[in-house]
């Protein structure tokens, strides 16, 4: 009998999650007795994810690995799943502690927070104004990263964060918000967009405004979506962890838990070729460092994800 592991994503059709699914399928093949159910709502809403989770509970899957649209709202549904014997973990975007056995961070939030501001600062030896273009005001991970970024801001002399705006992960809104930033801050030197939708829109807006070379767009993005903008020069570099590895690792951890491993502070869970993850006091663990892409390597990765 195959073990059923559900990979629940924020929304179907997002390149990042499609890549994670690739990794999950790779893990399933490697494990042999696992069937991965790749599912999620069509729009990034908590209610949509709850409906999906309810139908997974009904199907009596063995494990659910979820990237949550809302930290808290999924908790009751996931608790119910755990009561019915389903192993629940979160990955990428976490749920509150009561709603899962463990959470797999793609990387550690402090590392990411530091990375995004460092990417901007590296291009600005003399400092200057930078602005943040985030996703929705409610997305968990962006908010944590921005918080972490602000903690280490002091380490980068002359870097001045002038604004944080929200593009809601909508291309047109992000575009317009970027236009607004360019307007309001004539001395803007960099835009940090820690979201794969936002960074693309921001780069496009910078190109359309004729500001290539003056404003550098950086943050977190997918190589395939950013390759064109790196080539156009609107983005010098950006970072992302490898989503394939993330999907792979989440599946492996879920399998380990089904097999009887226990998720408790200090425990080490197996992640196949990615090694192991060590859980902290919050039952959270980090997979790996974010990886930086620039003109030298982006083309190569654009073919993969």
């Amino acid at each position: 009998e195959n073990k059923k592991i559900a990979l629940v994503v924020k929304a179907l059709g997002i390149g990042f999650f499609e890549a994670a699914n690739k990794g999950a399928q790779e893990a399933a093949k490697e494990l042999g007795d696992v069937e991965v159910i790749y599912t999620g709502p069509t729009t990034t809403t908590a209610e949509g994810q709850i409906e999906v989770i309810n139908s997974l509970i009904a199907q009596k899957v063995d494990a659910i690995a979820v990237s949550a649209n809302d930290t808290d709202a999924l908790v009751p549904a996931l608790k119910k799943a755990m009561e019915r014997g389903i192993k629940v973990i979160s990955w990428d975007s976490g749920v509150a502690k009561e709603g899962r056995l463990m959470h797999l961070n793609p990387s550690s939030s402090p590392l990411i927070g530091n990375m995004i501001i460092k990417l901007a600062a590296d291009q600005l030896p003399d400092g200057g104004d930078v602005a943040v273009l985030s996703a929705t005001a409610t997305s968990t991970n962006q908010n944590v990263w921005i918080e972490e970024m602000k903690k280490v801001q002091g380490n980068y002399k002359g870097i001045n964060v002038v604004a944080t705006v929200y593009g809601d992960d909508l291309a047109d809104k992000s575009y317009r918000e970027t236009q607004g930033l360019i307007q309001s801050y004539p001395n803007l030197k960099a835009i940090i967009a820690p979201t794969s939708v936002g960074i693309v829109a921001a780069a496009q807006a910078v190109e359309d405004a004729g500001k290539v070379g003056q404003i550098n767009v950086t943050g977190l993005g997918l190589p395939s979506e950013m390759a064109g903008h790196v080539k156009a020069g609107s983005s010098k570099s950006f970072a992302i962890w490898n989503p394939i590895d993330l999907g792979y690792s989440a599946t492996m951890i879920a399998y380990d838990l089904i097999g009887g491993a226990e998720a408790k502070p200090g425990a080490e869970l197996k992640m196949g070729r990615m090694g192991t993850v060590k859980l902290d006091d919050n039952n959270e663990g980090a997979m790996a460092d974010p990886f930086v892409y620039d003109a030298k390597n982006v083309e190569e990765f654009a073919k993969i994800f």
């Binding site: 997002i14 047109d172 317009r176 918000e177 607004g180 307007q183 309001s184 903008h229």
Partner: protein, 325 residues
């Protein structure tokens, strides 16, 4: 000029001017001609869509599927371009305009031949069109690097000082204006919405007129689909999600009566510009992003209230004495 614009429209023009100057007080750069041109350019797509919605609303119908139609056509345009980068862009545009009109004609046919209420039809096709994008692509995105440079460049290309996008919307305004004021079909839109019963007696085919209005709104949505996708250089299932409400709001602010029969091209354009100015201004005058939604809601409510006031029947005056006053 005064003859061209009705009372309500003059009011709107004044409101827009006041708004622009209020913004300029906090951010002087906003009134720079280049910036105003940019705001217009940013509003062009909304204007094109509002023109189509206006025609539909005039016939006492509504098209909730416009944004979904836009998304589907935009996706198809992107797919054509990604698969056959060699196809000339005007041909791509022609194809999606035709596709949009065809999708609009589905709405039109259901309303015409089966007499299903428009709001139900377009509520249904709204989900169906979006779903079709998902079925076409399996949810995958089409990104900038998959589109040809020519595809992305067209709306931005400058032409006598303005981007082609702006010019396209100006052409659309002129064409729809002539259609509405100088052709029998355009007048039929007003007649059908003003009094569908009487339209039958006048020899106007009510269903067919509505069908044509839906074809127009569909075709314009198709055009907007290409423009949207090429401008933002990305296509996915959810582009312009919820935009149908902006389009309707623009029409309502522009004084187009939701009950049909009353409205004008000027109103649709001004209503769109009003929304466009607000949308563009909020980020630059540093209003909390969280307040934007509440502000646009309030604006819509004020706009209908004001419109209702100016539309309010003066009342038939019977007393001779009162007439003189």
């Amino acid at each position: 000029m005064a003859k061209l614009l009705k009372n309500r429209e003059i009011l709107l023009v004044l409101a827009i001017i006041a708004l622009v100057f209020a913004i300029a007080l906090r951010f002087p750069g906003f009134v720079a001609p280049a910036n105003l041109a940019r705001v217009y350019n940013d509003t062009s797509i909304l204007i094109i869509l509002a023109l189509g919605q206006m025609a539909v609303i005039l016939t006492r119908c509504i098209d909730l599927s416009m944004a979904a139609n836009l998304a589907l056509c935009g996706m198809v345009a992107a797919m054509i371009n990604a698969a056959f980068p060699g196809v000339p862009i005007p041909l791509v545009i022609l194809a999606v305009v035709a596709l949009g009109a065809a999708l609009g004609s589905i709405n039109g046919l259901l309303v015409w031949k089966l007499d299903i209420p428009p709001i139900v039809v377009t509520l249904g096709t709204l989900t169906i069109f979006r779903g079709m994008i998902f079925l076409l692509t399996n949810g995958a995105w089409i990104n900038a690097h998959q589109m040809s440079d020519a595809f992305k460049a067209l709306p931005r290309a400058p032409l006598i000082g303005f981007p082609v996008l702006s010019w396209l919307s100006i052409v659309a305004i002129a064409a729809v204006y002539i259609l509405m004021t100088r052709t029998p079909v355009g007048r039929a839109f007003f007649a059908v919405g003003g009094n569908p019963h009487a339209a039958v007696y006048t020899g106007i085919d009510v269903g067919r007129t509505r069908f044509l209005a839906y074809c127009l709104s569909g075709g314009l949505a198709g055009l907007a689909g290409y423009l949207w996708v090429s401008r933002y250089a990305v296509a996915y299932v959810d582009i312009a999600a919820g935009f149908e409400l902006d389009i309707i709001a623009a029409c309502v602010i522009g004084g187009i009566s939701i009950a049909g029969g009353i409205g004008s091209v000027g109103g649709a354009v001004l209503g769109s510009l009003f929304l466009g100015v607000i949308k563009n201004a909020l980020p630059v005058i540093n209003i909390s992003p969280f307040a934007q939604l509440a502000i646009s809601g309030t604006v819509i409510i004020i706009a209908v209230a004001v419109n209702a006031r100016t539309e309010k029947r003066k009342g038939r005056v019977i007393l001779k004495k009162a007439e003189a006053v």
